[in-house]
């Protein structure tokens, strides 16, 4: 295998991982932008989405697109309920809100262990085979993830830009009080934003289920990476999450391919620190006034 093949393969690997990080980070940053809540349970909603995808696809044997919709809807509604009952009471207190999300994370993860057991479950591929272009070998299962993530993000972006609700969300993110004065019902926007955010995480989980596997612990790594991505891209910035997600995916893939896993982990975080030294608010973030 020569160098160009190695790099071509690394680009594809980076795109897959980057797409997953992007979906995770967009939801994560959305909640922070609108509600000023750092949702530590975000990874657990990813895990719940993976399980929703697993059960519907394996046991009901329905088309995977429908499984994705079910995962997004059920986990989205669950997220809204969680916001309404467990996060709303701490709205004025960011620290307590953060601790509440930590508690939610532990409850969901242990609940999943009790319900479904700790062992990882293998999910069958949605598509099998590889696309061979010249010397490159691209597994279809991974190409599907990239395409689906791009579609999901486009739909999300159009929703945020073109619909009244999306505009209302952006208004709340920019200035809650002014949004209130304009007649936007913030109490409806918050659970909705939270629901959308975790639905994105659930979609990422359901998409990645067949590529890796499904267990109550799968949410931890994507959650940590989403955290790095939003810091890198700029806390609260959706374009930042996209750029940051894809960038981190690429950095991870290239460094792991060229230098190996251990050096890759070091290099990734070193690069993030360097970027933050140059741009403390993140790549596309804005400094707080």
């Amino acid at each position: 295998m020569d160098y160009s093949i190695l790099l071509g393969q690394a680009v594809l690997n980076g795109l897959v991982i980057g797409a997953m990080y992007m979906l995770m980070a967009v939801g994560f940053t959305l909640v922070f932008g609108i509600m000023r809540v750092v949702n530590f349970a975000h990874g657990e909603f990813y895990m719940l989405g993976a399980f929703a995808g697993f059960f519907t696809y394996v046991y009901w044997e329905i088309p995977f697109v429908v499984c994705l919709l079910i995962a997004a809807l059920t986990i989205g509604v669950l997220g809204m309920l969680v916001e309404r009952t467990l996060i709303q009471p701490f709205r004025s207190d960011e620290m307590s809100g953060m601790i509440a999300t930590l508690a939610i994370s532990v409850i969901i993860q242990n609940g999943a262990v009790l319900l479904w057991g700790p062992q990882p479950r293998a999910m069958p591929d949605i598509v099998t085979g590889t696309l061979a272009i010249g010397p490159f070998s691209f597994p279809w299962s991974r190409l599907v993830v990239i395409a689906a993530a791009a579609l999901i993000f486009t739909a999300f972006w159009l929703f945020m830009q073109r619909t009244r609700l999306g505009r209302a969300m952006r208004a709340v993110a920019q200035d809650t009080e002014t949004a209130l004065i304009q007649g936007i019902r913030v109490n409806y926007i918050y659970p909705l934003a939270f629901g959308m955010s975790v639905a994105l995480a659930a979609l990422a989980g359901a998409l990645m289920g067949p590529v890796f596997s499904v267990s109550p612990f799968v949410g931890l790594t994507p959650m940590l990476k989403a955290f790095v991505v939003v810091i890198l891209g700029g806390l609260g910035s959706v374009p930042g999450a996209v750029v940051g997600g894809l960038l981190l995916g690429m950095i991870e893939s290239f460094t792991a391919t060229i230098f190996g896993s251990l050096v890759s982990d070091i290099l990734q975080l070193l690069l993030v620190i360097l970027i933050l030294l140059v741009r403390p608010a993140g790549l596309l973030g804005q400094r707080e006034a």
């Binding site: 393969q9 700790p118 293998a122 590889t130 299962s141 612990f217 893939s253 896993s261």
Partner: protein
Amino acid sequence: MRGFLKVALLSTACAVSSYSASAQTLKLGVLATLSGAGTAWGLAMQGAAELAAEDVNSKGGLEVGGKKYKVEIVAYDDHYKAADALTAFNRMVFDDSIKFVVGPLGSAPALALLPVSTENKVITMTMAFTPKALSADYKYSFRPVIPSDVFSDPQIKWVVQKLGAKKIGGLFPNDESGQQVGAANEAAYEAVGAKFVAKEFFERERVDFVPLLTRVLAKGIDAFELNGNAPQTAGLLVKQLRELGFKGPIIRTGGDATADILKVAGKDATENVYVHQPINTDSPAIQEYTKRFETKYKTPLNAFSPFFYANVQMVFAAMQKSGTVTDSDKVREAMLGLKDFETVLGKVNWIGEAQWKSNQQLDAPFYVALLKGGAAQVVAKCTPKVCE
């Protein structure tokens, strides 16, 4: 004062009654990985202990020195981490007063807790493959499974000769277990004329190996070695290797992971995969044990399970022979005295004096199997000297 007396009397009564209840209970610890990628092994160990306990409990308990003991299993998860294993082990020894433990599982957890088990005279039955798990210093450490430094040499020699593979690649977890297995593997391959051209290490939580495998495949390997990886990880590695277009042989020299490899990677990806098989799946006793395990736990049997089942049966037999369930010195002596002990694996003995200066390694034959059409077919039977 009267109130105080009542409380004192009541608590004394409680203490007495709980003593008489616990006097008839024999606690057996299970310290293994019950979550994450090593779960298949952990469940194999826990299941073995529970089934052995079920055997004696169904007959009214284990009869030792004229008393019947109900065997109770106390299981803790070590998350495959040394620190967690040590915490859980301390709890077993000091809170639960347990003297016999199925576990620890990995080499790193074993090395962390063996000094504590030795000091407190706790008999452990470990799955740790590290050569340091058995030594004259660790008097109470037994190993029922055959470690890779016993089976890897004859198996690797057989596989390399059969496949004619010259360049080997492999990924290993970045901890004591992985480093040790990686080094042992490299030496074993080089001893029979093959070269380990790509050896990478990764953190155990990792699930995406494609970048690392791309790097390994770039070295033009003839065969890939899966040794040292947890069952689920081994399955993901096979799946991702085939996705990257690698069609060459994949070799699993390490612990049994066949069921998980098949489940995760699927039938097509697992063609041309050679696996170490600790048990003979054609043996009626093994088939019966498999059926019992799978009916109870609704999960495929991991082949290590019967080894722990056999070891727990030996502990029970040693307790009966020595007439005690608390004096681990006497139980140890009695267990070492068991010769040609009949188990699901066939007749077993203790070996290891020459290799580790500790005669506490279980001796049983092992096998090499080729995966074909989603099933393992035995292609060679091995002893520590040779595979045929």
